[in-house]
């Protein structure tokens, strides 16, 4: 089980490490499913560069292609891999060290 999680989380973090891909994901989160042409119109990136990043993110399972209007492919954000990555972040963010220090301090006061 763990290697799958690790692989999924890694793909999410690799995708998010690139500013262009972050911009594309942010645009899909904000505006919903979009075509490469929609994204090229909205972002300061060439359509070719967008297509390359979209292909990578489809492979990673972060977005899925689906048929859109005028036979153009639309890309839809998939939340599942992000939620796996979020579990990784949650383990880092669950701040027991500071909480237990606060408990120690609370119990030290007479």
């Amino acid at each position: 089980m763990a290697p799958d999680l690790e692989a999924i989380a890694e793909q999410v973090f690799v995708a998010l490490a690139d500013p262009t891909r972050r911009a594309i994901l942010a645009a899909l989160a904000t505006d919903g499913p979009s075509t490469a042409t929609d994204l090229a119109a909205r972002l300061p990136i060439t359509r070719q560069a967008i297509a390359k990043h979209l292909a990578l993110m489809v492979d990673a399972g972060l977005i899925t292609p689906e048929p859109g209007e005028r036979r153009r492919v639309r890309y839809r954000l998939q939340s599942a891999p992000v939620q796996v990555a979020q579990q990784f972040l949650a383990a880092l963010a669950h701040d027991w060290d500071n909480r237990l220090a606060a408990l120690q301090k609370y119990l030290a006061t007479p």
Partner: protein, 145 residues
């Protein structure tokens, strides 16, 4: 070079007070709001509901799981920032052990590495369908009025 996906957090601390004082700090609204959150409510029985409000106003729902005074207290709570209907919860268990005049307190939180990705996708898709339907109904409502 792969790192393991963290599923479990475990800490042990020595506290200067006996288990009964530590128990009160862990299981009463007054105790919890003094060190854990800004505000707390708790129905102290297995299955009982508890809430913790943190600085900034975020409130987390918790469910009491184990109440074995003064040795074991456990609850589950949701992973942060997941959708409201997400079933995933982590399990937090406190174990209190007398240690001289004080207490050895162990906290274990498990369940970070749950993976219902397939079910998540189903839920996500049903969400999308739900939204599409609701928006369609809204559109119909607006068009009809």
């Amino acid at each position: 070079m792969t790192s393991p996906f963290p599923d479990r957090i475990e800490r042990t601390v020595k506290l200067a007070r006996p288990p009964r004082d530590v128990w009160a700090a862990l299981t009463t609204a007054e105790g919890l709001s003094a060190w854990f959150g800004e505000q707390a409510t708790i129905d102290l029985r297995p299955g009982g509901a508890a809430t913790m409000t943190f600085a900034g106003g975020m409130t987390v729902d918790m469910r009491v799981e184990r109440v074995e005074e003064p040795a074991v207290f456990a609850y589950t709570w949701r992973l942060p920032d997941l959708p409201d209907d997400d079933p995933r919860r982590t399990y937090v268990e406190f174990t209190l052990e007398p240690d001289g005049n004080g207490t050895l307190l162990r906290v274990v939180e498990t369940g970070f590495a749950q993976l219902p990705v397939e079910t998540r996708r189903e839920t996500y898709d049903s969400h999308c369908e739900g939204w599409t339907r609701e928006l369609a109904e809204l559109a119909t409502h607006i068009d009809g009025s």
